[in-house]
């Protein structure tokens, strides 16, 4: 693809992605300063902010400890069944927080409030730390650790002094993902009745029909997440320093013997897996065994599953189409323009699903009415929400196909289109497939934007589940939850295997 075409396509993609944010800004400006002050300078907003931030802090800390600890045990020690534990630590990625919350709330009486929310969110999001840290531990150059050992450092001291500093970007990146995730989570806090911003925004819109109030509350959420995003971009820049020098084959890492702590360590990981996966699994299967409660519900389940799959697939396709030019531009063109395009596409990362959903409702009602109440608007919301995931995947994939290969292929007499088909595309495909799987998985699990934007009468697995838990019909909700987890587990497994965290296979 030629540079001007690529730049134009990337520009269009960015505009589409920024539609919700732009619209939010316009509406908030229209509301005026007085209204904003009246709405935001209240004790309730202060309480909401305090709860949201405290929840994010507690969950992030817990996820970091749990994620880094299990990554280290799985990759660097003689833990029994290390590969199994690696899989178990990655799988919670397939359990949406609202399903975990639903499982706990229907299993334990009075399971509501701040600490239950913190527990559920931690169990669901620690893979966000585990996966990048395990991958970084796997990638780290054993030669550096060998040098430290040869200079007389004990294995533990080597880990602290040499390995841990190299992990800092991975840990920081993962922790910030968790923090962003907690701030934007809606399902778990709503089910467990914890008053955070997302819940307040949704309630203001859905129950109070207070549109402007909901939008103004959203801006605080956007501000909080933007601060986190800036932090993330700072660590990302720092991470560039820890590159491994030189090429060539790598030797495996030496595993540290745990000695007498071997089985206690395994037991700890077992407990974490039991809480994160066992409780939902057990609860769902018990509810399922009780039978599907109403006649005709099998058709409903099938319809909802079909809707989930088609809407998520459409979301993944649109997102990847928008991400391709941006990712290629970022990887191929250095310079301020590419950097600006990349930053802009990441901006939507700071917008929780509730906010994106809400601003697209406004956009649909006031600007693009033909789109309102159609699947297209929902697809657009998915694209705006998950574009950053896709852009990251595409630009990482583009690194697999450096421009020098294109130059050589053209110098050998092949037309640009033929070069793209025979060289660029085959090298990009695995990375793009992984990006698509990630977006697809995330679309399947997405709840708040789906609730706000789905056409009336269209239900997905997530919304059906939501509807039933809302009226405490736990048995009716179970089949949707089970199906959703099972369908999500497939792309989750694929992603975990690709990250290299599950072991040396497929990590060339």
């Amino acid at each position: 693809m030629s540079r001007p075409v690529l730049t134009a396509a990337a520009g269009i993609a960015v505009v589409v992605a920024l539609l919700p944010l732009g619209y939010l800004l316009i509406r908030v400006t229209e509301a005026g300063l007085d209204r904003a002050a009246a709405e935001l300078l209240t004790a309730r907003v202060g309480r909401l902010a305090a709860t949201s931030l405290a929840l994010a802090a507690v969950v992030t800390l817990a996820c970091t400890v749990l994620g880094v600890g299990s990554a280290f045990l799985v990759t660097r020690t003689d833990l029994p069944a290390a590969r199994l534990f690696a899989v178990l630590a990655a799988l919670p990625l397939a359990v949406p927080t609202y399903i975990a919350a639903f499982a706990w709330v229907s299993a334990v009486d009075d399971f509501t409030g701040f600490w239950p929310s913190a527990l559920v969110l931690t169990l669901c999001s620690y893979p966000y730390v585990f996966l990048p840290v395990a991958a970084a531990l796997h990638r780290a150059d054993p030669a550096q650790e060998d040098v430290a050992r040869s200079l007389g450092h004990h294995p533990w001291r080597t880990f602290r002094g040499v390995t841990l500093p190299q992990l800092r970007p991975a840990i920081a990146g993962g922790a910030l993902l968790v923090a962003l995730y907690v701030l934007s989570d809606f399902g778990a806090v709503a089910l467990l009745r914890t008053d955070t911003f997302t819940r307040a925004v949704f309630t203001a819109f859905d129950l109070g029909f207070d549109l402007t109030g909901a939008l103004l509350l959203s801006t605080v959420l956007v501000a909080l997440t933007t601060v986190l995003l800036i932090g993330e971009s700072l660590t990302r820049r720092r991470g560039a320093r820890y590159a491994r020098l030189g090429a060539g084959a790598r030797r495996p890492h030496v595993r540290i013997p745990l000695g007498g702590r071997r089985w206690p360590a395994a037991l700890m990981l077992m407990v974490a897996a039991a809480l994160a996966l066992g409780v939902p699994a057990l609860n769902l299967s018990r509810r399922l065994a009780a039978g599907v409660s109403r006649p005709g519900s099998l058709t409903e389940i099938a319809t909802a599953a079909g809707n989930s799959l088609t809407v998520s697939a459409a979301g993944a396709v649109l997102t990847m189409l928008l991400a391709l030019p941006i990712g290629l531009l970022v990887a191929r063109a250095s310079g301020p323009l590419a950097a600006v395009v990349e930053r802009l596409s990441y901006l939507t990362h700071a917008l929780p699903g509730v906010v994106i959903g809400l601003s697209l409702v406004f956009f649909g009602v006031h600007v693009a009415y033909p789109l309102y109440q159609t699947r297209w608007l929902l697809t657009l919301a998915y694209a705006a929400l998950f574009l950053p995931l896709a852009v990251a995947a595409v630009s990482a994939a583009a690194a697999q196909a450096p421009p020098a290969l294109d130059d050589v292929a053209r110098s050998l007499g092949r037309r640009p289109l033929r070069v793209f088909i025979t060289i660029t595309a085959p090298l990009l495909t695995p990375g793009i497939a992984a990006g698509a799987a990630l977006v697809f998985l995330t679309c399947m699990k997405e709840l708040p934007a789906t609730l706000l934007l789905r056409p009336t009468g269209m239900d997905t697995l997530a919304t059906e589940l939501w509807g039933h838990t809302g009226v405490a019909a736990y048995a009716a909700a179970a089949p949707y939850a089970a199906l959703l987890v099972l369908l999500s587990a497939v792309p989750a497994w694929f992603l975990a295997a690709r990250s290299g965290a599950l072991g040396p296979e497929g990590n060339r």
Binding site: D407, V408, R410, L412, G413, R414, V419, T422, L427, R508
Partner: protein, 365 residues
């Protein structure tokens, strides 16, 4: 016949001129080296010849057809100019045979050309290997075979040896030259390594800051460089002031015949192998003498630095076929000509110090 002609080529990146009035011609079947320090524009020149970048002004002809000029830009894939980039850039998802056959059509692939070029680069039997199963040197050989396979009008080599270690580099250079000769290919090699350029090429084009400063056979570039900078860039150089009278240059270390014979004050270029040192007991009047300051031992020869009585330092290279004077010993110094001279006066300002791009053991050619 001329395989490549570049005329008055100019290119700027923004306000920075990269190529200024560059001209060169490459004879069919020859290997031409474009030699210059990093940032001199040589890789840009190569990319313009390949059609990967466009010139602002000037003309490029490959064989007899204009591929680049005012109103003309033949795209890279129609030029039949094959590229061998720095790191080889093998297609990682294709086997050796598929890499080499990439530029061939189906009939050519079955004609045995793939096997033929693999034999040429010494990799027969490697058809099924994947690029990651090859060493760095083998990857470069495959990259060369891939470029040769479609019998291009021109093969462009962009610093193809720089990523390899010294021993491998020397042997691969000779193999590459042999493969190019046997296949009758015309090649342009871009390099910053003057030992590589001098030992490999039939013709050397020296570039500095986007301009061609000298163009000639390796021996000519080495013996009669156009200016001080080129003199230092292509080898070890001793520069002394002197006076030319009656075909001889008179310097602090004696007289020597000169290439050109304009009388007057001059700067004299001595290559270390033109400076002879002889151990003596005690200095006597009329002899030019100095003391040995240090040795750089290279195995087959030694570079000796001598400080003269007036403080001038000169270098002398001699084969290690006899006793070597010890550091601090007094030696007699003499010169063997002919020598290269320039009229005394200001020289073109050095565009960057050529010294850092020199390699150990370089300049033995």
């Amino acid at each position: 016949m001329t395989a490549l002609t570049v005329t008055a080529a100019c290119k700027t990146y923004g306000a920075v001129p990269v190529l200024t009035d560059v001209g060169l011609s490459v004879a069919a079947g020859s290997l031409t080296a474009v030699l210059g320090p990093s940032g001199c524009g040589k890789t840009t020149l190569l990319r313009c010849v390949a059609g990967l970048e466009r010139l602002d002004a000037g003309q490029i002809r490959v064989a007899d057809s204009v591929v680049e000029g005012p109103g003309t830009h033949v795209p890279a894939h129609r030029r039949r100019v094959a590229l061998v980039p720095q790191e080889g850039a093998l297609f990682p998802h294709l086997s050796v045979a598929d890499n080499v056959g990439y530029g061939l059509d189906r009939a050519q692939r079955r004609s045995g050309r793939i096997e033929e070029v693999l034999v040429l680069v010494g990799l027969e039997g490697y058809q099924r290997r994947m690029p990651h199963q090859l060493s760095g040197g083998q990857q470069q050989r495959v990259a060369l075979a891939r470029a040769l396979a479609p019998r291009p009008r021109l093969v462009l080599l962009d610093e193809p040896f720089s990523a390899l270690d010294a021993g491998l580099r020397a042997s691969l250079r000779q193999d590459v030259r042999q493969a190019l000769r046997r296949d009758g290919a015309t090649a342009v090699l871009v390099t910053h390594d003057q030992a590589e350029a001098l030992s490999l090429a039939d013709h050397v084009v020296v570039m500095r800051a986007g301009r061609v400063v000298q163009d000639g056979p390796p021996t000519e570039v080495y013996a009669t460089p156009t200016d001080h900078w080129v003199a230092r860039f292509v080898g070890d150089a001793v520069l002394l002031t002197g006076v030319v009278r009656a075909g001889h240059a008179h310097t602090a270390i004696g007289a020597a015949p000169v290439h050109a014979d304009a009388d007057g004050e001059v700067t004299v270029l001595l290559r270390p192998e033109q400076v002879r040192i002889t151990p003596i007991g005690t200095p006597t009047a009329g002899q030019v003498t100095g003391r040995v300051l240090r040795h750089d031992f290279h195995g087959h020869d030694t570079l000796t630095v001598v400080r003269l009585a007036d403080g001038t330092e000169v270098q002398s290279r001699r084969l290690n076929d006899g006793p070597v004077p010890a550091t601090g010993d007094a030696v007699q110094v003499s010169v063997r000509g002919p020598v290269r001279t320039w009229p005394a006066g200001p020289q073109p300002r050095d565009a960057g110090d050529p010294a850092p791009s020199r390699r150990a053991g370089a300049g033995h050619a």
